[in-house]
């Protein structure tokens, strides 16, 4: 007898094979893993795994140690944003990225919610450096035009003024009153880099 199986996680493959070995007339024709269980209990569709995304991820310095992630969850347990906002779950982001599920990673705003406090970075037993992975993912999303408008605006402000907060005449006067030295109003090299 020939059967085709669709299962929900890679971990079941060995179990299926073990069961099949007990029945000599059972010939497994094909095993397709269609989804994967996430640590928090949800299931993610694996059909969206994007090999091009995985390839570009593997070339990025910040994601060099992503493959070492074994989903212990120390990052999520250490995360001050997670304490406030359930939507944010660094462990989930690491796994989705590792599986190449680009659309899943980019579709919501959660990669933008990392506050870069580096607590998970200090505690990660596998030295995955989740904040660095987050920067890589954010940069990739930004290239596809998916960065929050406020963050894009910051770059444009720097291109225009050379400073995040412009040193206008009023500020310059106030600085003089406080006996603070005059500063370059619009650093040209910053404008040029931001413009590029």
């Amino acid at each position: 007898m020939t059967v085709t199986l669709r299962i929900h996680a890679i971990k079941y493959v060995s179990r299926v094979l073990w069961v099949s070995s007990l029945y000599s007339n059972l010939l497994i024709n094909e095993i397709r893993v269609i989804g994967i269980n996430m640590a928090e209990g949800t299931m993610v569709d694996l059909s969206g795994s994007d090999t091009r995304f995985l390839r570009s991820l593997s070339k990025e310095l910040g994601a060099a140690d992503l493959s070492k992630c074994f989903q212990c969850g120390v990052c999520t347990a250490s995360c001050p944003v997670r304490e406030i906002e359930e939507r944010f779950n660094p462990r989930r982001i690491m796994k989705l990225a590792k599986l190449g599920l680009k659309d899943e990673v980019f579709k919501s705003d959660f990669i933008w919610l990392c506050s870069m406090c580096f607590m998970c970075h200090e505690r990660c037993p596998q030295d995955v450096k989740p904040p660095d992975v987050m920067t890589v993912l954010r940069n990739m999303a930004a290239k596809e035009g998916m960065a929050p408008p406020n963050l894009v605006k910051l770059v444009n402000v720097l291109a225009k003024n050379g400073r995040v907060y412009p040193l206008d005449d009023f500020t310059a006067e106030e600085r003089e009153d406080r006996d603070l030295p005059e500063l370059e109003q619009e650093p040209g090299f910053i404008k040029k880099i931001a413009e590029a």
């Binding site: 304490e83 506050s115 607590m119 920067t135 603070l180």
Partner: protein, 289 residues
């Protein structure tokens, strides 16, 4: 002692109390600060374009190394960004990408210039020294203070050459104790202020700020910190949170140089207290009897 002062964007325009107090304190301690033409450290650009961010940091490092004088930063994120750039630009691929931007825009390249970069508080603790600070104290403070060391002051730890502890930093507490004040221990001392999320999700950002304020309410005379974004969150946003939640926190937020300045006997008018959002009148009355 000579240092090049790296101010960044936020301090000169929005937190001049930090700058003013740091300059007056430096004068009083005999630390000479110079002001080369630095620009944005690159940190705000990192989420959108890390290569551009590193190019900005690299240019600042190049400028800094024109003088054989170490750099001090008042902003923890600026300090972390500059040190991170020194490290990441050691990677050949990354240096190539950054140099492509620099040669295109400014006809220059980064050639591994690695000036010494220290946070102002780290400089006071590690180089100037606690003993010397204690000797200079003219007005020992009998205050109960909570410290907020912030994130980028000690994390990621591989950038700070063994200075302080990323989980249990003590240097800011010791600096506070050198003024005579008591630094109290409390839950969540190393928590992030939430400032970096302000442009992404203000609600989350404010909730992070509020958490610490809730814990400290009525327990301390002041919250002492060393980063302008932490300052904006805990000081300016404390007032906004008070309005929104109808809760009176009333926790004065001081930059460490403001606290130190008081202990050194400086006139409060020289320490920029008029910029502080949460009223400091009672605190100052307590200090200057």
């Amino acid at each position: 002692m000579k240092y090049q002062l790296f101010l960044g964007c936020t301090i000169p325009a929005r937190q001049s109390n930090y700058e003013q107090s740091a300059r007056r304190v430096s004068e009083s301690l005999g630390i000479e600060l110079s002001d080369p033409e630095f620009g944005c450290c690159g940190f705000p650009v990192e989420p959108v374009d890390e290569v551009k961010a590193l190019a900005m940091a690299a240019m600042n490092l190049k400028k800094a190394s024109e003088n054989d004088v170490p750099v001090v930063t008042l902003c923890s994120a600026c300090g972390e960004m500059l040190l991170k750039a020194e490290k990441l630009l050691g990677d050949e691929e990354m240096a190539k990408k950054v140099n492509a931007v620099l040669s295109k825009t400014l006809e220059t390249t980064y050639n591994r210039e690695k000036p010494e970069v220290l946070h102002f508080a780290r400089m006071l603790h590690q180089v100037y020294g606690l003993d010397k600070i204690r000797e200079k104290v003219k007005r020992p403070l009998s205050l109960k203070v909570a410290t907020h060391p912030g994130c980028h002051y000690v994390r990621p730890k591989d950038l700070f050459a063994g200075f302080d502890d990323p989980e249990y930093p003590r240097s800011l507490d010791e600096l506070v104790e050198a003024t005579g004040a008591e630094s109290v221990d409390y839950v969540g001392k190393t928590d992030c202020c939430g400032g970096s999320l302000l442009a992404v999700d203000e609600k989350v950002s404010k909730a992070m700020t509020r958490k610490k304020l809730d814990r400290l309410k009525g327990k301390v005379d002041a919250l002492v910190l060393i980063c302008p974004f932490c300052g904006i969150m805990y000081d300016k946003y404390q007032r906004l949170l008070e309005e929104e939640t109808q809760t009176k926190y009333g926790i004065p937020v001081l930059y460490y140089p403001q606290l130190l300045g008081l202990a050194l006997g400086l006139d409060p008018d020289e320490l920029g207290f008029d910029v502080n959002s949460v009223p400091v009148k009672e605190l100052l009355e307590k200090v200057i009897k």
